[in-house]
Symmetry: C2
Subunit: 221 residues, 2 copies
């Protein structure tokens, strides 16, 4: 009935990523992917040892779209570029963001970017531990910016976002103005991200500036 070799692993991964994009990471199910190919859930287990392996492959697919910054850039610029490139790739697939954590140390592209980042930091005087910390901070911050972008909650399905945003705003606006005046004023910004470019740019600036302050202090001692 069913043709053999109908299941191209690369297509399966693409399909899984599409589901993550459209319905969120939690909605990704082995059975759903199988349905997309008109196949039994167990068919996937021939190509992927388990669901985790499939998720890793989805993560690899996203990491492979990360633009690699020029390794010849000076540290400060390289850091900015690397974080920007990560954010850009993840914003195209916000639901897949958590999958990138492990990939930066196991995937080809991820490892190359990590190695270059470490090299810049250690050339600037960091020891291995400090360099690892800073590289790790940069990744975690990039990830959490995307995962936590106001109005783009990863745990909420794309379809239900507008209502969720409106509901949150209504709750905050109903707070007593004498006790929470600042929170009420800032409520729209907490609930939805009016200026996404600014949201990411400011955070990267703050982090990179902080790192540079840290490194200058290191150089003085």
């Amino acid at each position: 009935m069913k043709a053999k070799n109908s299941l191209n692993p690369a297509l399966v991964v693409e399909s899984a990523l599409r589901i993550v994009d459209e319905q969120g990471l939690e909605a990704l199910t082995v059975r759903k992917v199988a349905d997309e190919f008109g196949v039994t859930p167990m068919a996937l287990y021939w190509h992927f040892s388990n669901k985790e392996a499939l998720l890793d492959a989805v993560g690899d697919l996203v990491v492979s779209t990360v633009r690699e910054p020029d390794p010849k850039l000076p540290l400060e610029d390289y850091l900015r570029e690397a974080m920007g490139a990560l954010v850009e790739a993840m914003r195209s697939h916000p639901g897949a963001t958590p999958l990138l954590l492990t990939r930066m140390l196991t995937n080809q592209v991820g490892r190359d970017i990590t190695e270059a980042t470490l090299d810049k930091l250690m050339s600037a005087g960091c020891d291995a531990q400090k360099a690892a910390s800073i590289a790790h901070y940069a990744l975690m911050i990039s990830m959490s910016l995307v995962s936590g972008q106001p109005g783009a909650d990863v745990t909420v399905k794309p379809a239900e976002r507008e209502e969720a945003v409106a509901a949150k705003l209504a709750i905050l606006q109903s707070l007593p103005d004498d006790r929470y005046p600042r929170l009420r004023a800032a409520a729209p910004s907490f609930v939805d991200c009016a200026d996404a470019a600014g949201y990411y740019g400011d955070a990267i600036d703050i982090f990179v500036n902080g790192v540079m302050v840290d490194l200058r202090a290191l150089a003085r001692s």
Copy 2:
């Protein structure tokens, strides 16, 4: 057979948090909590409308342990104290960390800390949007530091951590030394956190210093 009123909601939440601490967030199951009280899963639905409500309550329990910094502290110190207090509370319950995101805007304690933080920032010249961004960054960074602390992966059950760490390290150490010298040197730090206090302190320093640079630039314009 079973005594009535045997289910104290506060005790249920504590029990749920204990399960999260011992087995991780993903292992928390309505059925498991019910078993702890020798009760049918459905018994919990009388006290919590669904699992999400139970999780929110667990989040509230953790937020309630966050030490509230002195609101009279100057901005820079307040930021440090607030992030430190958040990190401290979350480190006691790493598995529950993701639950804090929503709680900082809905819970009493969370709202008070958020309001104080916003007030400091806006008094220092930020508009509402910038203040919201920075407060949000501070929370996201604190959360991601704990969630992503090397060697304390939240997605790995506490019991299986040692092996997981050793396995990761072995993989990184097997990389070609000519291509990934920095990564190999930094591998132990990526895989396990030798100096937790330094890991958190450095990140908070970097962020707070970055914020101060940003605010000084703002004041000049």
